[in-house]
């Protein structure tokens, strides 16, 4: 009598036993078939993707970005809060240039008001030409200091948004721009949550993650970002940090600048001049 086991594999006897050699042959055939089918399915799934990538030259960095120069340029963005007057023209320009849907913001301007009693009030500056809301009027006698802070993507060197993206849809261009491949983005929102600056959002029109690109498309054509272009007072400055003669390099060398939430170790490339610790 053959030894057998029950469903849980413990000792009982069974009557219907096959010969051992038949069973081993059956098992081997079965395992061989499973392996063949699995390998075939994996090949069919992965190979077309790999070959398509090879043909297009696609990489995590994407084929949209070729170095603008022979040497790899290093770009930076300087926000000078001492100059900003809160005109809001940059906001309108960004929305028009990048088709940003209503309710979402690639850039915005905050007004910081430090009162004499030590408290701080922060308000959102409305876009130029937008009449939906206005900044609250504050009694000047109560104010110790006030300034405007334009905000935008910080294009961090160690971008947490880039790190958490599961599909490589968020990537860094060769010039250091943090960009999003809308064709690859699945719209999971992980990058939106991971950005500590609130710079990302899900675009309601495309269903993909969206944010400031420093107007990469314009920079590739040799133009400045739209917000920089329209700023009437030069509070936004964009340029090459690897060129000591560029205006941004000279300004950064001359005045103290800071980055936001430095303790997080994201190493932002957008720098701020004239801000206090209350700006986060």
């Amino acid at each position: 009598m053959c030894k057998s086991t029950n469903d849980e594999g413990r000792g009982c006897t069974g009557a219907s036993c096959l010969r051992k050699s038949d069973e081993i042959g059956s098992r081997r055939r079965f395992l061989a078939n499973v392996c063949t089918v699995t390998l075939g399915a994996v090949s069919l799934t992965i190979l077309p993707t790999v070959s398509a990538d090879d043909e297009s030259g696609y990489s995590a960095a994407g084929d949209v970005a070729k170095p603008l120069d022979a040497r790899s340029p290093v770009f930076g963005f300087l926000v000078d809060t001492e100059k900003c007057i809160g005109a809001g023209k940059c906001l309108s320009a960004c929305r028009v240039e990048n088709n940003v849907p209503e309710g979402s913001h690639r850039t915005w301007v905050e007004r910081y008001v430090h009162f004499k009693d030590g408290s701080v009030q922060v308000d959102l500056v409305p876009e130029a030409g937008y009449t939906g809301s206005e900044l609250p009027v504050i009694d000047p006698d109560r104010v110790a200091r006030a300034y405007f802070v334009p905000k935008l993507c910080n294009h961090c060197d160690d971008a947490p948004c880039n790190q958490v993206c599961p599909t490589h849809a968020s990537f860094t261009s060769p010039e250091g721009f943090e960009l999003i491949d809308a064709e690859r983005c699945i719209g999971c929102g992980y990058c939106v949550e991971a950005c500590p600056y609130g710079a990302r959002f899900i675009n309601s029109d495309t269903g993909t993650a969206d944010k400031c690109t420093w107007c990469y498309h314009r920079v590739k054509r040799g133009q400045s970002p739209a917000c920089v272009e329209v700023c009437p007072v030069g509070a936004r400055l964009f340029g090459r940090l690897d060129d000591p003669e560029s205006e941004i390099s000279k300004r950064i060398a001359k005045i103290p600048t800071h980055v936001l939430k430095e303790h997080l170790g994201t190493h932002p490339k957008t720098r701020y001049a004239g801000i206090t610790p209350e700006v986060i």
Partner: protein
């Protein structure tokens, strides 16, 4: 004068909705129920035999739908396979796909091996369409005594291997949140551990509830020893989970870092009901006392079953509330740390309440279907008739 509130303009969008609450909830149930089954198949805890098959099948049924909330949440679900085709090695979410795949493979093989003798027997004994169905399920492979012995060893190996994989699966979900360093509510070192322990608690609780309800529906009494053991395990995991949760918040409060103010306001004003009342009082304190009945040997089995079942139901509510408070709570304050936003779940839509209810119902319907196809009960699941 306190600082006025200010919310970053992109923050009013609560990106992760109720579906992302369900995702770790279902993952926890998957892992927790599996570990119970592994205690029997891997570690031979005989007292759990009545629920061993149920645990394994429940784990499979929940795992089949564990990623459904994610798909419903994605704005481009048609691109979901990008996560496994072009994964990013630095993304916790992408790596989760592989952990989940390994777990599914392991679970499927184990459950097939466990039910294989019954499937083969039915393939031989049934006629017509049922015969074809069971033959397909058996993959037309016969089974011998030697095969059964090999199967038993493989089942044990898979059960033992499955324990760390299941722990990884549930802890990993916590890591998804821990990885977001800019959010003080999520970015705590205890987050993965809390998710892991509460996953075990939810899995055990689900089994207690399912086992008792199924027994009642079948008109038989649940095995008292089994229910008692499960309730004791549940009490231990509940105590550890709640202790860790309170330690986490206690540590934040004691440290009183720069962001404690916003966390304190979040707890006091925005999560007062879901955290204070539901998670702590109804979901933790009440079942803590109810489950003590399992430690009193003189308690009548029937009363202990009622108390244990009630407590298990409340633990399921507790774990859901914990997932809610973590996922939604972490998005209720702006990244400016100066203001809060509101979130209410819509009734309809892909991420609405009805869809969430369907997502929770589908694994149970699948379990019902599985119970009609596979022999979840072999006579050892019950002790005596309920009406005796």
């Amino acid at each position: 004068m306190p600082d006025a509130t200010f919310v970053f303009p992109n923050d009013p969008q609560v990106t992760w909705s109720i579906m992302i609450v369900l995702y770790p909830y279902l993952s926890g149930l998957v892992a927790g129920t599996f570990v119970v089954s592994a205690f029997y198949y891997g570690l031979h805890f005989e007292v759990l035999k009545p629920v061993a098959r149920l645990a394994l099948t429940t784990s499979l049924c929940f795992s089949l739908f564990a990623t459904l909330p994610l798909l419903l949440h994605l704005h481009h679900p048609e691109r979901a396979f990008n996560v496994v085709i072009t994964p990013s090695a630095t993304s916790a979410m992408a790596v989760f796909g592989f952990v989940y795949s390994v777990y599914m493979l392991l679970l499927t093989v184990e459950i097939w091996l466990v039910f294989r003798p019954s499937i083969v027997e039915r393939a031989d004994s049934r006629r017509g369409a049922a015969r074809l169905f069971y033959r397909a399920l058996s993959l037309s492979v016969q089974i011998s005594d030697g095969g059964r012995a090999v199967d038993a060893k493989v089942i044990r190996l898979l059960a033992l291997l499955g324990i760390p994989v299941a722990c990884l699966l549930s802890g990993y979900v916590g890591f998804l949140f821990r990885a977001i360093k800019g959010n003080p509510w999520w970015s705590t070192s205890l987050m993965p551990v809390i998710f892991l322990v509460s996953a075990m608690a939810s899995g055990i609780a689900a089994l207690v509830v399912l086992y008792i309800m199924i027994c009642w529906c079948r008109g038989v009494a649940p095995e008292a020893r089994c229910v008692r053991s499960l309730c004791r395990c549940l009490w231990i995991f509940l105590v550890v989970a709640v202790s860790l949760e309170l330690l986490d918040i206690g540590h934040m409060a004691y440290e009183s870092g720069s962001q404690w103010g916003v966390i304190a306001t979040l707890l006091k004003e925005h999560l007062a009901v879901s955290y204070g009342l539901v998670q702590l009082v109804i979901g933790s304190i009440v079942p803590f006392f109810l489950l003590l009945a399992a430690f009193l040997p003189k308690f009548k089995p029937r009363l202990m079953t009622v108390l244990g079942g009630t407590a298990a139901l409340l633990v399921l509510v507790q774990v859901f509330a914990m997932r809610w408070n973590v996922v939604v709570g972490g998005q209720l304050f702006s990244k400016s740390f100066r203001g809060f936003v509101e979130y209410s779940v819509p009734w309809t839509g892909r991420e609405g309440l009805i869809a969430a209810g369907v997502v929770l119902l589908l694994p149970l319907l699948t379990l019902w279907a599985a119970a009609n196809v596979l022999p979840l009960w072999d006579g050892s699941n019950v002790s005596k008739s309920l009406h005796d």
